[in-house]
Structures are given as structure tokens and as C-alpha cells.
């Protein structure tokens, strides 16, 4: 093969790669563009802080959906983060009889379609308690736990063994070594996993459809149904009302900004490595 054909092949590859890049960027950029253009117009203080108006009436906002989303994500995090970290410490540091079972369950759960998580909680909990923010949080936890557990487990595994030995040899009990030395060394990776887990669940709609249900008013407690941004987007976007459709874009824009910020947060945390 002479130099010329080699050069031509090289150029052809560059063109192909550039083309692939453009093909990927077009839908992404046009989606961002569309959401930004249509969404920004809807944003105002009233939009961020007030309750929805009845269908067809102008004005109103998504304040309760923002409140609900924060509540759902905070509750799901409060449930998932401790469970996930404990499970990860158990499988990585203790390697007990249950470790491989937990590992398997986690792997399977992490592939569970989110609608299944919703149905699971719907069948298990809703008949007893009715629709509630708590049920929504539990459904989100089903999705968050595997993500955070796997990320935590990987970070714990990456902690070199000489760190554990140094602590054990000082006469530090195993459990303290695991919690205060190994876990601390893995904190950056675990933090990254937690933020990614939060980013994932903040956009989920399916698990909330028949758990948190939605609500036109402010949420007054974990045991009431609650609105949430993804739910509101789903309801508004599929409604026949113009004003609601416009507000769905606004809500989508807010959600996008939140997820974007969380991803930037991951970058910042991960750079400290």
C-alpha cells in the first residue's frame, strides 16, 4: 500500500468520524435548542412559585411540582443512600455468604425497566396506603439503590488493600476500618455515584405514574399524593390545552437544567480524584 492510498484512507476515516459526531450531535442539540427556546419563555417567578390554574385558564405555575420533585428525590435519597452504601460495604469488605446474592440482585435490579419499579410498588403498597409521595419515593428507591450500590462497590474495590492492612495492624476493629478508613477513602467515587443516581431518578416519570399520582395543590406530607416535574410534563404535554402545553416546555427546561447541574457536579467531584 503506498503513501497516497494510506493518506486517502486516513482522510476517509476522519470524515466518517466527523460525520458520526454530527449525527449524534444533531438530535441532542436540536432537543436542547427546542426545549430552551420554548421553555425559557414560560419561566417567570410566578411560574416557579405558584399552583397550576384549572385547565384553559391562563397563568399559574409549577411550584407544587418543583416542591414534589424535591421531596421525592430527597426522600428516595434518604432511603437509598444508607442502604446502598451498607450493601456495598458488606459485599466488598465482608464477602459473606450473602455477598454474591446481593451482587446478583443488584445487577438484575439495575436493569429493571422503571415502569416495573412503579408497578411493583403499586401492587405492594398502594392497596394499603393509597397514592402517596412516600410510595413514589420507594419506587424511585428501587431504581436508585442499584445505581448507588454498584458505584459504591466499585469505589470500595478500588481502595488498595494496604490501606485496610494499615488500619487493622494498628488494632482497629474491622468494622471501624471499613466505615472510617476504607469508606472514607472511597468517598469521591461514592459521591459521584450518588449524584448520578439522583440525576437518574429526577427525570423518571413511569415509576411515579401510579405511586405519587400527581396533585393540583401543594403537598402537605409524605402520605399524600404529590405532583412532580416529570409527572406534570407528562400530563401537560398530552393535554389538549395550549397554555398547559406551553408550561410543559417550561417544566422540561427546569428539569433539564437540574440534570445538567447534577452532571456538572459529578465532573467537579470526580476531578478532585
Amino acid at each position: 500500500m503506498n503513501l497516497r492510498t494510506r493518506k486517502m484512507k486516513g482522510n476517509a476515516m476522519i470524515i466518517l468520524v466527523a460525520l458520526a459526531f454530527v449525527i449524534i450531535m444533531i438530535p441532542l442539540m436540536s432537543m436542547l435548542y427546542m426545549i430552551a427556546i420554548r421553555g425559557i419563555g414560560a419561566i417567570s417567578l410566578e411560574f416557579l412559585t405558584s399552583l397550576p390554574t384549572p385547565p384553559g385558564e391562563p397563568g399559574g405555575g409549577v411550584g407544587n411540582a418543583i416542591q414534589g420533585s424535591l421531596m421525592l428525590v430527597a426522600t428516595a435519597s434518604a432511603i437509598s443512600i444508607p442502604i446502598s452504601i451498607m450493601a456495598a460495604v458488606y459485599i466488598s469488605e465482608y464477602r459473606g455468604k450473602l455477598s454474591s446474592a446481593i451482587e446478583l440482585i443488584t445487577d438484575v435490579l439495575s436493569g429493571t425497566p422503571s415502569i416495573v419499579a412503579g408497578v411493583f410498588i403499586y401492587v405492594l403498597i398502594i392497596p394499603r396506603t393509597g397514592f402517596s409521595a412516600l410510595a413514589g419515593s420507594l419506587a424511585l428507591s428501587v431504581l436508585m439503590i442499584p445505581t448507588v450500590t454498584i458505584a459504591s462497590y466499585e469505589s470500595l474495590k478500588a481502595v488498595p488493600n494496604h490501606i485496610r492492612e494499615a488500619a487493622i495492624a494498628l488494632g482497629v476493629p474491622k468494622w471501624k476500618t471499613s466505615l472510617f478508613v476504607v469508606l472514607r477513602s472511597a468517598m469521591i467515587g461514592i459521591g459521584t455515584g450518588v449524584i448520578l443516581g439522583i440525576a437518574r431518578i429526577s427525570g423518571e416519570t413511569a415509576p411515579l405514574l401510579f405511586t405519587a399520582l400527581g396533585n393540583m395543590y401543594w403537598n402537605e406530607g409524605l402520605l399524600q399524593p404529590t405532583s412532580a416535574l416529570p409527572l406534570l410534563i407528562y400530563n401537560y404535554a398530552t393535554s389538549p390545552y395550549r397554555s398547559w402545553q406551553a408550561q410543559a416546555w417550561g417544566a422540561a427546561f427546569i428539569l433539564l437544567v437540574i440534570v445538567l447541574l447534577l452532571n456538572i457536579g459529578v465532573r467537579i467531584v470526580a476531578r478532585k480524584r
Partner: protein, 250 residues
């Protein structure tokens, strides 16, 4: 207070692999005992049996008796044994998430000492004991891993001292260090002998000759010869020892 160690018929395994065979020896109080022998002969395993670190490896097993001042180490709680028998590893391993001063007293703190002034005082005391205080007094809050290799190793020795052990085990503590740092650590070890019983593994025979009082030669898991360092190096009784110290193998 320092203590003596007595090892009786010690056998150790990794799975099916028999790596220590009927080792019996005594290590004297306030003395430095060197353990020499070719790579893979079981030196590390031997000292890891003394502070019960060997059994933390999956599949690893020990038989025999080890007495710390007549107290059977294998009848006691391993956590408390490890606080009485400190260990310094081959590679300096300060905790990367902790500062210099946090590292120095990490053992104390993790074992339950909360009082900040006690911790700060102890940090100063042990850093002075290892000759590190003047070098790091302005860098106490920097990560322990930011120090040079030799300083890190002295920090690890300080960390072991802070728990107030009676015996200190050292596994080739200078093998990752430059000659100048090695000298400083040898001086330090020699000074520590006043207050501690020291057992040091080394593959460096000059080092064993320079600092130890007694030397044990281990070969393929067996204790071949054990005696006063000077005698062992000048007039080895066993032919294997003679061949090893004259550099004809290993």
C-alpha cells in the same frame, strides 16, 4: 514497657501451601531481632503470624503457639494483640485521606481517643520520637502522602508508636527507600530498641549486621540458624547459612 516473644512449633499455610514449618524461636526484650533469608522463604509470613495479620488473608491458617510475655497470642482478642504488637510495612502506607498529624494518631483516634488536646500532644510526641517533627511542623495539615518516601515511612513508624505497642514488627521497612532515608531509619530503629522489642525482616544483610542483636536465617519456611548477629555472620554453623551470607545464592 517492652515484652518478649516466644514462638513454639509455628506452622503456617496459604491454602494447601505450607510456608512455615515448625519454627521455634525467642525474641528478647529490648533487642533487635533480624530475620533474613531469600525471597519467598516466609519472612513476612512469620512476622504476620506474630500480630495475627496472617489469618486475615482468606484461606490462610496457623498452628502452634506464640507467647507475648507468656500470654498466648492466639487465645486473646486479635484486635487487642495488634495494639500491643505494632507493624511497619514494606511500602510506606500512610492513609491518603488523612493529614500528617491525623496519620500520626490515626490508630489512637480510631481506637476511641476523642480528646483533641491528647491527640495533638501525642502527635507531637511521636513525630518527635521519629525525628520528623522539625521537618513537618509547618506541614501538619498536608496530606500524609505528600511527604517524601523516607518521611512517609517515619510517619508510619510514628503512627505505630502512637498506639503504645510493646513490640514492633518491621517488614523490610527500607526496601523502597534511598540510602540516606535508609540510614535515618536505621538510626531510628536502633534508638527505639531502648523502649521496644523490635523484629525486623530484611533482605539486606549489611542492614541486619549493622543494627540487629540477633539474626535468624530462614530458608524455605524452616528456621535454619538463629543466634547472635556477630556470631552468625562471622561463624555460621550451618552450611546453608554460610552460603547465603557469602552471597552464593538468594
Amino acid at each position: 514497657m517492652s515484652s518478649e516473644i516466644e514462638i513454639e512449633d509455628l506452622n503456617a499455610w496459604f491454602g494447601e501451601k505450607h510456608v512455615l514449618k515448625d519454627v521455634s524461636m525467642e525474641m528478647e526484650k529490648n533487642r533487635i531481632t533480624a530475620i533474613i533469608g531469600p525471597s519467598g522463604c516466609g519472612k513476612t509470613t512469620l512476622i504476620r503470624c506474630i500480630n495475627r495479620m496472617h489469618e486475615t488473608v482468606p484461606e490462610a491458617r496457623v498452628e502452634g503457639r506464640i507467647l507475648l510475655n507468656e500470654l498466648d497470642v492466639y487465645q486473646e482478642d486479635p484486635v487487642s494483640i495488634r495494639s500491643r504488637i505494632g507493624m511497619v510495612f514494606q511500602r510506606p502506607n500512610p492513609f491518603p485521606t488523612m493529614s500528617v498529624s491525623e496519620n500520626a494518631v490515626a490508630g489512637l483516634k480510631l481506637r476511641g481517643t476523642r480528646d483533641r488536646s491528647v491527640l495533638a500532644e501525642k502527635a507531637k510526641e511521636v513525630l518527635m520520637a521519629v525525628g520528623l517533627w522539625d521537618e513537618v511542623r509547618n506541614e501538619l495539615n498536608k496530606p500524609g502522602t505528600s511527604l517524601s518516601g523516607g518521611q512517609q515511612q517515619r510517619l508510619c513508624i510514628a503512627r505505630a508508636l502512637a498506639v503504645e505497642p510493646e513490640v514492633i514488627l518491621m517488614d523490610e521497612p527500607c526496601s523502597a527507600l534511598d540510602p540516606v532515608s535508609t540510614m535515618r531509619i536505621e538510626d531510628l530503629i536502633y534508638r527505639l530498641r531502648e523502649n521496644y522489642t523490635i523484629i525486623i525482616v530484611t533482605h539486606n544483610m549489611q542492614q541486619a549486621a549493622r543494627i540487629s542483636d540477633r539474626t535468624a536465617f530462614l530458608y524455605m519456611g524452616e528456621l535454619i540458624e538463629y543466634g547472635p548477629t556477630k556470631r552468625l555472620f562471622e561463624k555460621p554453623e550451618n552450611e546453608l547459612t554460610e552460603r547465603y551470607i557469602s552471597g552464593r545464592f538468594g
